[in-house]
Point group: C2
Chain length 374, copies 2
DNA sequence: ATGAAAGCGCTAACAA
DNA sequence: TTGTTAGCGCTTTCAT
């Protein structure tokens, strides 16, 4: 094992730790009953009070905990569900995870998070989770390939997909409505008097990238008077958004609005504009997508369209629980409606610095900003 | 199942999905061999080429995947490790997770993330993971209680703790050096001519909160000439930091420096100062802890002390792998040295807006800013 | 090289 | 109410 030269390492004697696993057989022997009685006593099945007492004391004394793999093998379920997501660095996925966790833990499941991004592909993750580690999984794939669809079709484990799938795939799915979302943003900018809009996308070979690009194209088509085009950032991150926006803002003529494909790109765009000495929204209006907490925290506040991450997570979890309960039920596709949240970054006039807490859409202080959509 | 009124729901017919799990027995029958031969063929044990071919084809045709729980029960290991963390919304934990994942996946383990924050306590998580779901775990507890120490002592699963433990606990541990970290920050601020410093802590009943508070107190004790005090934010978040800083900055006399207990509180403090019409660093210098990506992204850049999250994660993973391999080895405590990263938020004079990409400490553009520590 | 059989730790059906 | 026993799916001796 290599350790950094900068580190200090101390070594202590290991106390005698109980690295051995105590089994139910040992508990039964210790309590003077059969393993069946021990199992029943431990699981609240019918057993005499005397037996229960003896077994519980024996279990306590020996530090018994039931082995999860043996229990799972016998019972055919693990009481574990997985949320598999590519990019846990994006706050919107953390928000979804929190919503999912709330629902599944209320139903007695533990949620484990599988990060598909780093070393393994989503296909590997689906295959692996399909081996019985979990009773069901919620998948947020960044790219939907034929290989992934085939893995999804083959896995015996119930799956719910967050994101768009081809119509041919009849799986439970929860989707955002990118078309409406982009229309809300473009309509808003046009209302605010912007006429030269650039869409700063993430990678367009990802599902969200393709959908938001198409949504933007459809939205601007409804406004023949404005000028619009798209560029791509390398990633859905602040740094990539910064780099892409820097290029866009140094062109001539400079656009008067940037529609970023997500909040991170939008925040990078605000920083780029500020570093170029431009004012937001005076010189340039900037909007994001996802309405993450950061959008309310940055100055100026980032106008963003809320894709309902919390609701999508919650619904996905509910669909998964329903499918586990009834494996052959028809597949559902749920589309969650977006809503626009207008903040300072896209208004026609700048407001003076006001003392108000950074707000998120769930906070009352934000309600003034919010506009209903659809 | 309840669905939001705003949502659209479509229902399709379910294609006949293979919800049944195919076992190795079925593969063996299909291939015309015994289960033992099938197992050997599948696992690369000695078997004739003919047998291997037959078995592999049968497995392919039937879509066989070995059941994880049965395999785990038989082999006594799961090939899974867990990272249990309270607050996955904090980017520093994501950074650690990424480092951990890199190490463990190189050794053939899958990493699962257990979020201890939301519904269950860390004690529950330790107990649950100790049931055999995983071969080992890395724990980042926010609070170290006697109950947690007792659960840690009892679990048969190898554990590495990220954070400080009482000296009586002889477990593998990886720690940051809060004392040195806070000293680096305070020394830097004094050098820059600041003389009235407020420490905006997170909850001081957490381990990081207590350590950073003590570190700050020790650091200011070395500078009798400056005035210093501490206040507490409700949480290690941007919003809580904003609220706490707002209070501090409205007092008279106003301090000329804020030392925030982490970057999120520091960013909230910058926003609060800006919203009050103060300039950073002109009117007030602000520093953070953790050197997360956000510190390089915000304007002005947030001076921060890097606690070595990447290294701590990597070392923790290495310690865990070493312990799994050799369960009775002596316990190691590794302390990772901090380093100061100076950015615009704490300099004596403000620099004009410069066009440079948002930088993180790993990027070359940041090297100019960085000062070696220790 | 292959097959029969034991057994990982647990729960549940059946008998007593 | 309790104990005996089968068996979840897999790997691995042990014979052959």
């Amino acid at each position: 094992m290599e350790l950094s030269r900068a580190s200090t390492v101390n070594v202590y004697n290991t106390r005698g730790r109980a690295l051995v696993r105590v089994t139910i057989t040992q508990v039964a022997v210790h309590a003077g009953v059969s393993v069946a009685s021990a199992s029943r006593a431990l699981n609240g099945q019918i057993a005499s009070a005397k037996t229960v007492a003896k077994v519980q004391q024996a279990a306590e004394e020996l530090g018994y905990v039931a082995d999860a793999t043996a229990q799972s093998l016998k019972l055919g379920r693990t009481n574990q569900l997985a949320y598999a997501v590519a990019d846990i660095g994006n706050p919107v996925y953390v928000e979804m995870m929190t919503a999912i966790e709330r629902v599944v833990s209320a139903s007695g499941y533990r949620l484990v998070l599988s990060s598909t991004g780093t070393s393994s592909s989503s296909v590997d993750v689906v295959r692996d989770l399909g081996r019985g580690y979990v009773d069901g999984m919620i998948l947020s794939p960044l790219r939907v390939t034929d290989e992934l669809l085939s893995a999804l079709a083959k896995t015996p484990t119930p799956v719910v997909v967050l994101g768009r799938l081809p119509d041919s795939a009849t799986l439970d799915t929860v989707r955002a409505d990118s078309i409406t979302a982009m229309r809300l943003l473009v309509d808003h900018l046009v209302e605010e008097g912007r006429g030269d809009v650039v869409f700063v996308n993430g990678p367009s070979d990802t599902t969200p990238g393709a959908l938001r690009r198409d949504g933007f194209a459809a939205a601007v088509a409804a406004h023949p008077a404005i000028s619009a085009r798209s560029v791509g950032a390398d990633d859905f991150t602040i740094a990539a958004g910064y780099a892409a926006a820097l290029r866009v803002l140094q062109e001539h003529p400079r656009p008067d609005a940037i529609v970023a494909a997500n909040d991170l790109i939008g925040i990078g765009s605000i920083q780029a504009a500020t570093d170029l000495g431009l004012t937001v929204p005076g010189d340039i209006a900037i909007t994001g997508v996802d309405n993450t907490e950061l959008a309310g925290v940055i100055r100026p506040g980032l106008t963003s369209v809320d894709l309902g991450a919390e609701e999508r997570g919650r619904v996905a979890a509910e669909l998964l629980l329903a499918r586990i309960e009834e494996p052959n039920r028809p597949a559902h596709t749920v589309t969650v409606a977006p809503s626009l949240v207008v903040r300072g970054s896209s208004r026609a006039r700048t407001q003076g610095p006001a003392v108000s807490p950074p707000s998120h859409r769930t906070e009352a202080s934000d309600l003034n900003d919010e506009r209903a959509a659809r």
